[in-house]
C-alpha cells in the first residue's frame, strides 16, 4: 500500500495534559482517510500537527516530501460583517494583486472553475458573511482546491451544515475519489463508513486503523467511543481488500 503520510510516535502535550499519545498511523496515497473518534480525542490536534500549526514530538513523513496541502477548517469563526464577496475571498489566496484594484478576468475565470467544481457558482458575488454553514464550507473547500493540493484536509466538514449541504458534501467526496489524497476528521460514523477507504480510530492514541469493514466492529467502536456506540453497529457486511 503506497502511503501519502505516515505518523510515527507523534505526541502532543499541553502542560500536564497529554493530547496525543504515541500516535502511529498511515494515510494511503490517493485514497480517502477518515479520522474518527470522540470529542476531545485529539483528531483536530493531529490535523494541526500535520499542517505544522502545532509543535509535536515524533515524526510525520510525507511521500513525496513537501506536498501542497489544502485545508478546510472546522466551522471557522470569522467577522461576518466584513464586506467581502465569496470570489474576493478566494482571490485573497490566489493572487497578490490587491482586491481593491478589482479582479482580473484570468482570476475570475479560475475562481469560476473552482466554484463550479464544488457546485457553488451562484455564490461568487454573494457576501461571505451572508452564506449559510453549508455554503461557507463549499467556499472554503474551493479555497483549499485553488492551489491544486496533493492532500486535501477536511476538519469536520459537516458541522453546522443542513441536510442539503450534507448531501452535496457526500457528492463532492464521491467526485474526489481517486483524484487526490483526502484526510477528513469526522465524528459522523455514517459519513466515515460511506466515504472512507481507510479509517483511523483516535482517542488520544490510535485504537485501530484499517479499511472500514475491519473498523466498524462493536469492539473497536466501543474501545474508541465507549460501549453504546458498539451496540449501534452490527457486524460488518463483507470483508474487502486493503486499498
Amino acid at each position: 500500500m503506497a502511503l501519502a503520510v505516515e505518523f510515527r510516535e507523534v505526541e502532543v502535550t499541553l502542560g500536564e495534559f497529554s493530547v496525543l499519545k504515541s500516535v502511529t498511523a498511515k494515510v494511503p496515497l490517493g485514497r480517502q482517510t477518515i479520522v474518527i473518534g470522540p470529542n476531545g480525542g485529539g483528531k483536530s490536534t493531529l490535523i494541526h500537527c500535520l499542517l505544522g500549526h502545532l509543535p509535536y514530538k515524533g515524526q510525520i513523513t510525507f511521500t513525496p516530501p513537501n506536498p501542497k496541502l489544502g485545508y478546510v477548517p472546522q466551522r471557522p469563526d470569522f467577522d461576518r460583517s466584513l464586506p467581502l464577496t465569496a470570489q474576493e475571498f478566494l482571490a485573497l489566496s490566489l493572487t497578490q494583486r490587491p482586491i481593491w484594484l478589482g479582479l482580473t478576468p484570468k482570476v475570475k475565470r479560475k475562481i469560476k472553475d473552482v466554484l463550479e467544481l464544488v457546485k457553488a457558482t451562484p455564490l461568487a458575488a454573494k457576501p461571505l458573511g451572508g452564506l449559510s454553514g453549508g455554503e461557507t464550507q463549499r467556499v472554503l473547500l474551493a479555497a483549499a482546491l485553488l492551489n491544486d493540493p496533493a492532500i486535501l484536509i477536511l476538519d469536520e466538514p459537516a458541522t453546522g451544515v443542513d441536510v442539503y449541504g450534507e448531501r452535496l458534501l457526500c457528492e463532492l467526496l464521491d467526485d474526489f475519489k481517486n483524484a487526490f489524497t483526502v484526510i477528513m476528521v469526522s465524528h459522523d460514523l455514517a459519513t466515515a463508513r460511506a466515504h472512507g477507504d481507510w479509517v483511523i480510530c483516535l482517542n488520544r492514541r490510535v485504537v485501530a486503523e484499517g479499511v472500514p469493514e475491519t473498523i466498524f466492529q462493536p469492539d473497536i467502536l466501543s474501545a474508541t467511543f465507549g460501549l453504546h456506540q458498539g451496540l449501534i453497529f452490527g457486524p460488518p457486511p463483507t470483508a474487502q481488500k486493503e486499498p
Binding site: F78, D79, L82, T85, E88, P98, I99
Partner: protein, 277 residues
Amino acid sequence: MSALTPLYDLLTVVYEPLFMRRAAVALFLLSLAVSGAGVLAVSRRMAFFPDTVGHSALAGLALGVLTGLDPQVAVVFFGLGLGLFIVFLSRKAQFSNDVSLALVFSGAVALGIALISRDPRATAGLSRWLMGDVLTVSDSEIVALGVLDVISLVLFLTHYNRLILAAVFPAGLAAKGLGDYLFGAYLAVVSVLAVQAVGVLLATALLVTPAATGRLLAASGRSFFWLALVFSVLAAQLGLFISFQPGINASAGATIVLTGLAFLGLASFSRLFKGRI
C-alpha cells in the same frame, strides 16, 4: 522657496494663510495613508491600536528627554517597538488583540507617568502630542507624510490580500508570521504620525471613522477600501474648511473628527433606506 511652494500657490484659491494651505496638504497626504491602515485595523479588530501607540508618546517623550535623543525620533521608535510588542503578545502569548492592547496601553501610560514623575522636563511638548495641532505642521513633516504614502502604497500593493486574509481567518488559512509584524510596524508608524498631526485623542477617530463608514456602506472588499479613502479625504478637507470659517473658528482636529462622525451618521441613516454599494 521650498519644493512644495507651487502646490501651496495652487491652494491660495481656497485658503489665504500659508499654515492653512500646509494643513490641507498634510491632511490630504495623511488621509491617503490612514484610510487603508484604518480598513486593515478595523478588519483585524485592532481599532484601539492607534490609541495605545499614541499614548506611548508619553513614555517616548520622557525617554527622549532622559536619554538626550530627539523626542520626536524617540516617540516614533518607541511607538514602533510597542507596535511590534503588541503583535508579539497576540501571537506568542496567545492573547486576543483587545487584551494585548489593554495590557500594553496601561503599561505604556504607567511607564510614561513614572518617568515624568522623576523628571518634570519630560512634559515639554506633551500637550502637542496629546492635543495635536495640524495648523503648525512643517514642510519636513509634510515630506515625511509623502514618504509614508509611498510606503503605504507599496504595502497595499504587495501585502493587502494577505493581511485581509489573516483578518478573516486569524487561525485558519492565512500565512502569518512576518506579515503580522510588518503590519504592526506599519500601523504603529501611521498611528504616531496621525497623533503628531491631530493628537492622540483624535488620531484613533481619524483612523477608524472613515473605515467604519466605508464598512457600513460597502458590499465588497473593493468598495470598502475606496469608500474609506473617499470619506477620509472628505472628512479631513471639509473638517479643516469648516473649522476655519468665521463664526466657527474651532479646533481643526476636533472639527475633522466631528465631520467624519457626521458622515458615519449619514451613512447609517442612508443604509436604513438603501442597500450597500
